[in-house]
């Protein structure tokens, strides 16, 4: 179909349309709304044969989506931020139903204070639920990830729901040239959903989501989910190979940028890693052997790929766009856990930036590279720091003065 200028939101909607989804329960929240409005319009004008229903809340929406998926319909839903948290209870429940639901989350900072800008506390809050998590950098990746998510989720060796994540505003409303795949090609990549497993029909009564008495059964089911999630990494590689063969675009569980001979590595996710890549390029011009590692999956966590990629590196700076209040960066903790038992492990530095969509400037990236270099020279790693510039603080002070607050 060729390339079109699409926002991240419309790229997500295109993914849903091309996946020939049957059912979309919806509830609006900025910055996700464009996705459901686009789909609603297509259904209304007949270009998409699906059933769309606006629900009374995200809690209900995720329930309806999971239930439809459990009934055998290919189902999509999407939310963001407070909406994801409002449906939190059902995120765990639906994952436990082992249904191949695909959900897009458009990341946005959590209240309070209330904000529209993005960070990843919303999506990371649900990271232990059993949903697989794919984090996207570009609009193209959003569209492609929705298609790959269905392939992965519906694979009988996985049967877990998948969340595809993008940053609000920075990706949701940014137009990029996106290749819209041909529907026939999509069909050859993602055949019609024909559930062989648990689903409701008259001839075969089935109980789903039932109670268990005692930890033995509970552990058994949770462990099954854990194994299925771990399976997903290998199966994703098959999915990627097929995807590349059919569409020519290559994806992996981690994205490595200028990593080959790199010594100082940024670890970032989502759309801000584009900024990180630019910073790496500039650092290279200044003679710093910089590189960037972007985990695309945060669940399952691609441990062995990350360990391999970071073997022999001097220092790694994790830039978390989230804050676990009272602890620090969440991905930093994950990385530390991942590397702890490696004998030859790089120094690990922690930075928190981009909260609520706050920009990370070139100066701050330079500061991060300086810190990495001095840490590797001295062996001393400074405590985690929150990226906040002098001029940003001045701006806040000035505003407070104008408002008459000291």
């Amino acid at each position: 179909m060729g390339k079109e200028m699409l926002t991240g939101n419309s790229a997500a909607a295109w993914g849903v349309r091309l996946a020939e989804v049957d059912y979309i329960p919806a509830y609006p929240i900025t910055p996700q709304t464009e996705i459901i409005e686009t789909i609603a319009k297509w259904i209304s004008d007949g270009s998409m044969d699906a059933s769309f229903v606006t629900m009374d809340s995200e809690h209900s929406m995720i329930t309806a989506a999971g239930a439809a998926s459990a009934t055998g319909a290919r189902t999509f839903t999407t939310t963001s931020s407070q909406g994801l948290l409002y449906g939190f209870e059902m995120i765990y429940t639906v994952a436990g139903w082992r249904v191949p639901l695909v959900m897009v989350n458009v990341s946005r900072g959590l209240s309070s204070p209330i904000t529209l800008g993005p960070d990843h506390n919303d999506i990371l809050a649900v990271r232990d639920s059993g949903f697989l998590q794919i984090h996207c950098e570009t609009c193209q990746e959003v569209l492609d990830s929705v298609l790959m998510a269905y392939r992965l989720a519906e694979d009988e060796r996985v049967l877990l729901p998948v969340m595809v994540n993008m940053d609000g505003f920075y990706l949701s409303f940014t137009r990029e040239a996106v290749e819209i795949p041909d529907v026939e090609k999509v069909r050859s990549f993602l055949p019609e959903y024909r559930p062989e497993h648990a689903f409701f029909k008259a001839a075969r009564p089935m109980a789903q989501g039932v109670a268990v008495l005692g930890g033995d059964y509970y552990s058994y089911f949770k462990y099954q989910m854990h194994l299925a999630s771990q399976n997903a990494l290998e199966i994703y590689k098959e999915v990627c190979d097929d995807f590349e063969r059919i569409f020519g675009r290559k994806y992996e569980v981690i994205d490595e940028y200028m990593m080959e001979d790199a010594e100082y590595i940024l670890v970032m996710t989502n759309s801000f890693s584009t900024l990180g890549k630019a910073a790496v390029k500039r650092a290279r011009e200044d003679g710093v052997k910089a590189g960037l590692l972007r985990p695309r999956f945060l669940r399952p966590f691609p441990e062995s790929e990350i360990k391999n990629a970071l073997k022999g590196k001097k220092a790694v700076a994790v830039i978390d766009q989230n804050i676990s209040v009272g602890k620090g960066g969440i991905i930093y903790s994950e990385m530390a856990g991942c590397l702890y038992n490696e004998i030859d492990r790089p120094l690990l530095l922690s930075f928190i930036g981009g909260l609520g969509g706050k920009n990370i400037s070139q100066k701050e990236f330079e500061f991060i590279f300086e810190k990495m270099i001095s840490a590797s020279d001295t062996g001393i790693v400074e405590p985690p720091s929150l990226l906040y510039t002098e001029s940003e603080l001045e701006g806040i002070t000035k505003l407070k003065e104008i408002a008459g607050k000291e």
Partner: protein, 311 residues
């Protein structure tokens, strides 16, 4: 099912769609209600359940049902019903599911879910005219967590969170919410109150409901031996007393028009019902709480007066 009226208990279908041997308490009025409901609904159904006592009817790997079952959570069984119904409809429409495989979708929840936590998702489902059955077994408290106050707990009752004491001798000071009227304000095609002591009335209401597409809602007032505090053998008697005293009117609403399906010839005093239960014992001893007893009786009388049905 034919739509002719059943006249006596002998005409109830003999088939059982719920088998004995569940974790429910002996004498549970809700279980009796459910047994009758399933006789009426048949086995080509999927029950979408909210957290409550009946969640423990299916315990892995056992189920007492011939039908399918989906446990959701306390706030959202009607939303689960929406997903199942919509999925069945679209799969049949697209030719992916044989219409023979179609199922009726049935929500099953306690009063805590129905009156409180799931009120919003229920309102949404009725508003969207979802084609489903909703059965609420109303034991007037959160039963599964050990009998705490819910929006269905009546004035004057003792629950785990409304213990009568020196400052608040009456127990619950709030009036039971009127779920029937809340539902009715949405104008669904069919709503009924039922009782396990009146299975013929119950069965006929299900038969009648079957002709309507859209929400079909049932509230059953059900005695709960451990929560109410009475001997399990007296369960049906108590269910009967709640109707005979006028506390639980048996009625139905068709497109908003309410009619009573049974009016006792002579109403028994509510005290007869109250005094049989531990949860009201503080109204009688150590001192009779005359005001409270009077106001309960007045509330009942007012209801029937309003409907011009007081003999």
């Amino acid at each position: 099912m034919d739509t002719s009226t059943i006249r006596s208990i002998k005409e109830l279908p003999p088939e059982e769609n719920m088998l004995p041997g569940t974790a429910a308490c002996a004498g549970c009025g809700g279980l009796l209600t459910l047994r009758y409901c399933l006789k009426a609904l048949g086995d080509k159904i999927v029950i979408v359940n909210a957290a409550g006592c009946f969640t423990l009817l299916t315990i892995y790997p056992f189920s007492p049902f011939r039908n399918s079952w989906l446990y959701t959570a306390m706030a959202c069984a009607p939303a689960g019903a929406q997903g199942v119904r919509d999925a069945l409809d679209i799969l049949i429409k697209k030719g992916k599911l044989d219409p023979e495989e179609n199922l009726k979708v049935v929500v099953l929840s306690g009063d805590g879910s129905a009156y409180d936590m799931a009120l919003s998702s229920t309102s949404g489902a009725i508003y969207r005219n979802l084609d489903f059955y909703y059965i609420c077994y109303d034991n007037e408290a959160y039963g599964n967590t050990g009998f705490q106050h819910s929006g269905a707990s009546p004035f004057g009752s003792r629950t785990g969170t409304t213990p009568p004491g020196k400052e608040v001798p009456v127990g619950s000071q709030l009036q039971k919410k009127n779920l029937f009227d809340i539902w009715n304000s949405h104008k669904p095609p069919y709503i009924a109150t039922v009782s396990p002591a009146y299975p013929v009335d119950l069965m006929n209401k299900f038969k009648k409901a079957e002709q309507f597409k859209g929400p079909k809602l049932f509230i059953s007032h059900i005695p709960c031996p451990p929560g109410w505090g009475f001997d399990p053998s007296r369960s049906v008697r108590l269910a009967k007393l709640s109707v005979e005293t006028g506390l639980w009117p048996l009625k139905e609403s068709v497109h908003g028009e309410v009619e009573h399906t049974y009016v006792p010839k002579k109403f028994k005093p509510v005290e007869e019902y109250l005094k049989e239960q531990e949860r009201f014992s503080h109204l009688f001893k150590p001192v009779r709480q005359e005001d409270a007893l009077k106001s309960i009786q007045e509330m009942v009388d007012e209801y029937w007066k309003k409907h011009e049905l007081l003999p």
